[in-house]
């Protein structure tokens, strides 16, 4: 279900026709699809893929059921009170009826409900705490930037506590399935929000602080995520592509992103010498490519060819996507911090794009 959804969303990322008729038809088609598919969606908290999110969904349905009963009950009583009645009551009877309503509905009902809720709810939150456990989980650092996610794998081979030699990617998070992972999140500039709805969460990414959250994925799948805290003009265009895979696959994935392999991929092919040259002149001060440049302002591009999306989820990665992005990124993602490349020849941009797409381990 989730793969299909995601494939659909990547397809749909090809901006649909501007004609509104199409859009309405499209919306109706989608509505039918969604209604048939229940409440699924790659960011739906009602379609959990981890225990933490599953607990919350359970709590939600219970609360919804109880809340509906209360709402209908109270409304029905109010409406019933408008029914004309010819009852004569003594003041003592009136006082008794009033006290029953107020004590029963005003005190016992809410006190019982909130006590149950608290007893029920507090333990559910414990699961997402980074409590010490016997087998310490992997730590993945995620840093929010305006408007992209930097992902750092501290468990990568050869990396040390000071953060040297860690594997760094951008907007593409890979995690092992079936085991808890600790996410240490922070913000580089303003406050962003880290949230993978189908796994649980969320937690703010605050500059100067590191917040920790523990999440676990049950199934190997792709999950949607996007920044949850208003962070400026690019807020809506700040997505994170989350991929959960079995442990061995994850280890292979991580191992293949060691600097040597990546620089090999970046420098081996002499056919792209011109593009590399242009990259060094125009891009290198912001972007890092292993073995080529070491800029840290923009996303690390060392394995960009293997990522699912470009521009933090704005367009899907496919042939020619990078050059399209380079030409039109300010209209695809308004306000993003990369300067428009008006001064560069189209050919140069195409060459750059072609080379960058080869950067894959």
């Amino acid at each position: 279900m989730s793969e299909r959804n995601c494939a659909r969303c990547i397809l749909a990322i090809q901006r649909p026709s501007r004609r509104w008729v199409n859009r309405v038809l499209f919306a109706i088609w989608l509505a039918m699809l969604v209604t048939l598919a229940g409440c699924a969606g790659d960011k739906s908290i009602l379609d959990p893929a981890g225990q933490a999110a599953r607990d919350v969904r359970f709590i939600w349905w219970v609360m919804l059921g109880f809340g509906t009963v209360v709402l209908i009950g109270v409304t029905a009583c109010w409406l019933y009170a408008f029914k004309p009645r010819d009852v004569v009551r003594t003041p003592a009877q009136e006082r008794r009826i009033a006290r029953r309503w107020i004590v029963g509905g005003g005190i016992i009902l809410p006190v019982a409900s909130i006590t149950a809720l608290l007893a029920f709810g507090v333990p559910a939150g414990q699961r997402m705490l980074p409590l010490p456990i016997s087998d310490p989980p992997d730590v993945i650092e995620v840093i929010g930037h305006q408007w992209w996610f930097e992902v750092r794998y501290l468990q990568a081979q050869g990396s040390d506590q000071e953060g040297n030699n860690v594997v760094v990617t951008a907007n593409h998070l890979v995690m092992p399935v079936g085991e808890p992972v600790d996410f240490h999140v922070s913000g580089a500039d303003v406050i962003h929000g880290f949230w993978i709805p189908r796994l649980g969460g969320k937690i703010d990414m605050i500059p100067g602080r590191v917040n920790k959250i523990r999440l676990e994925a049950d199934i190997p799948a792709v999950f949607g995520a996007q920044c949850a805290e208003l962070c400026g003009v690019g807020h809506a265009n700040m997505h994170l592509y989350v991929e959960a895979m079995p442990r061995e696959e994850f280890d292979t994935w991580l191992a293949s992103r060691q600097d040597e392999q990546l620089s090999e991929a970046a420098t081996a092919d002499t056919a792209h010498d011109d593009a590399r040259e242009a990259f060094l002149n125009h891009c290198a001060s912001c972007h890092r490519v292993a073995g080529v440049s070491s800029g840290t302002i923009g996303p690390d591009l060392s394995d960009i060819g293997s990522r699912a999306t470009l521009g933090a989820g704005v367009i899907a990665m496919e042939e020619g996507a990078v050059s399209r992005w380079l030409k039109h990124h300010q209209s695809l993602k308004p306000g993003n911090k990369m300067p428009a490349h008006d001064d560069l020849e189209m050919d140069t941009l195409d060459a750059l794009g072609a080379w960058l797409e080869t950067l894959t381990p």
């Binding site: 959804n5 969303c9 749909a12 509104w20 859009r23 499209f26 989608l30 509505a31 209604t35 969606g41 790659d42 960011k43 739906s44 908290i45 607990d55 919350v56 939600w60 809340g67 209360v70 709402l71 109270v74 109010w78 009170a81 004309p84 006082r95 009826i97 009033a98 107020i102 509905g105 005003g106 005190i107 809410p110 909130i114 809720l117 608290l118 709810g121 939150g125 997402m128 303003v190 406050i191 949230w195 709805p197 969460g201 937690i203 703010d204 605050i206 500059p207 602080r209 917040n211 996007q226 949850a228 805290e229 208003l230 400026g232 003009v233 690019g234 807020h235 809506a236 265009n237 308004p334």
Partner: protein, 841 residues
Amino acid sequence: MKSVNQEAVEHDPQQLHEELHDIWGNPKGIKALTIVNHTTLGLRFMVTGMVFFLIGGILAMLVRTQLAMPDQDFMSPDIYNQVTTMHGTVMMFLFAIPMLEGLAIYLIPKMIGARDLVCPRLTSLGYFCYLFGGIILTFSLIIEMAPSSGWFMYTPLSSSEYAPGLGSDFWLLGITFVEISAVSAGVELVVSILRTRTQGMALHKMPLFAWYILAMALMIVIGFPPLILASVLLELERAVGMPFFEIAGGGDPILWQHLFWLFGHPEVYIIFLPAAGIVSTLIPVFAGRPIVGYGWVVFAIIVTGFISFGLWVHHMFTVGIPQLAQAFFSAASMLVAVPTAIQVFVWLATLWLGKPKMKLPMLWVMGFLIIFVCGGLTGVMLALVPFNWQVHDTHFVVAHMHYVLVGGMFFPLIAGLYYWLPLFSGRMPSENLGRWGFWLTFLGFNGTFLIMHWTGLLGMPRRVYTYEAGSGWEIYNLLSSVSSFVLSAGIAMVLLDIALHFRFGKPAKHNPWNADTLEWANSMPPSAYNFISLPNVETRHPLWDDPKLPYTMAEGKHGLAVPVHGRREMWGTDPITGKVREIIHLPGNSWWPLLAAAALAVVCISLLVRVYALAGIFVLIAGVFLLRWSWENGAHPIAAPEAAVAPGDPPLHSRTMDGPGLWAMAVFLLANGSFFLSYLFGWFYLWTVSPEWRMPDTSPLSLPLLAAAGIAIAAGAVVMEKLVRGLRHQCDDRLRVGLYLAGTLGAVQVALTAWVLYSANLSPTQTSHDAVLLVGLIYVLFHGGLAVVLTLMQGLRVGYGYVGTHAPFEPAVVTQLWRYNVVTFLVLVGSIAILPRVVGG
């Protein structure tokens, strides 16, 4: 109690009306700007609030248009952020609060049998600050420079680095300016309710609406100052570079969130309580019986007022606060369900035991009930931390918030407007158009926001200007958008109905709903003085227990009916028992409020365009206007030069030691104290929590100098206390010298504190430690300076003969400020100069 002046002789009502009208009547033309009357100003507040409501509503329509379909480019992200920010800001600060304050300003004196609010010129100042602040803020939309960091203005997004334009400054300065209005209305509503109820109306006999407004006003007084402080600090950071919220300089962006929500959560109840007050007023009237459980409701109001200050962190469950602390706030948030449920069931029991009629206002009350209970239930859900983590910052919260605010404020407000329309205009609303308006609004509202819960559960975050097709959110957004237009059609119909009724409504008969409270003893529409005579009221339902009361009041058969002295007068009564203590004489129309507000507006604009010299000059000018205003008090020729009262009547308040000014000063100091405590909270918060906080090894503040300053201010306060004690015993020997002496001692304290500041050699743009110290010392300096100016002015007034044993009131008011200054000075020195020396960095 034997009421005062009750067996007056027969009066001619027409003549009494004319005499009172000469004193209280509103001027026409340009002089209408000087009006201080609560009826006129209450209406102005409400009409202005409605205009801002329309602006906020149009912004909401823009948002829904943009989100109707995926991938729209109807608005650019920057404009979209401006629109959403301004929608929230306008609705909260320029509509909800001022609208309800306007209603309270209009109704409270009428309900408690007074002729005006107790500080009429303050009402006027509040109105103009609101108007000018609102205009400045909305002007930013026109020049496309509106704030765009969300109505909550989280730093660092709103800081000068990430919001370089003027947008954030518009917000910070404009809102602070508008808040002057909120706080001043809060102060005078508190004092009016406590001190100017008509004779005999004991605390436990006053209308429930007054209880609700009392709680709301006190909450404004305590709840708004944290935001004022936060705005001042952020503006200082933006303008001068003091790093209060910037990590590198030792500040912390989370401090902003704490201060904002310390205000922001009580704010929700500040909006809800008066609306619940409307419901509690309407239900007994339409059920035809007294409310059951008056005491229960009072209980619920007080509980809500307090508990709502203990919930602010539930807006911050995702910032990474320890789980145990979150659990405290989670539990406290759930507790609010109890007083709310009590009220809902009190209303239900009242209907159950009465014979309710589904008139148009009751229809809106029913709408309120359904929507508000729904919003309350989702509110309890959101109080649960794990659930909150999932839906925080999604459209679920947007939906919840609108259920609470529209359900909890807008529906009761419209119910109240329909209910009091005959009082405003003397005409009845139409049942037909009104019902159409209700159903469209009700269905449109639920269509928009019920669905939005679902959109949020499907993972759609808040404040995104667009979403891609294929996300699964399309159909729900489309339905929300379509419904939102139905909602606006409904609201348009309601407003049309209200507008048309002024022209076409059937003339209303007196007390058309057969209500029980005193406001219906007014003529319809009311005259500027409200009541020809002020009755003795010892019941909660004066018009039910004595249906003839409006007539006997109009015939002048009760208190204060003889206006030969030419003063604006009403009772000053005991806050608990309602026994008459003195006659309060109120100031008449005045230009000073308008001039002061205009000067403050210039200050606001010059700060905005960063012409600080001009701002400084106009701060002084505003100060002069305000002092000139305060000059026209007490025995001043424009106020009450003659103190003669009718035989048997109590003395004028300015001739006693017990005027409402004492209370106004006390309540103002409560607000000030809340500001000061917020400052201390900031200091201790940064000290303990801020990641990069740097405490110098030795405090830069000189203790000997501070000790000397402390001795000077304490000595000044002692002198003031002695003078007041003397006045209490009818002795004004050396009053003038004493006042000048106290003023000089105060000046010594100011000079010494200034020296401390100068010798500390702070670098407030480098570290937040120094910046916080600077703000604290400036606070002390400002208050010390204020006490000096006011004390010296009292000395002058003694010379003019406005103050003395014959008019001993004013020094007692100033002395309160002295006491406050001594306490804050000592606490501040203890916190920022002594404690760091004791415990070290």
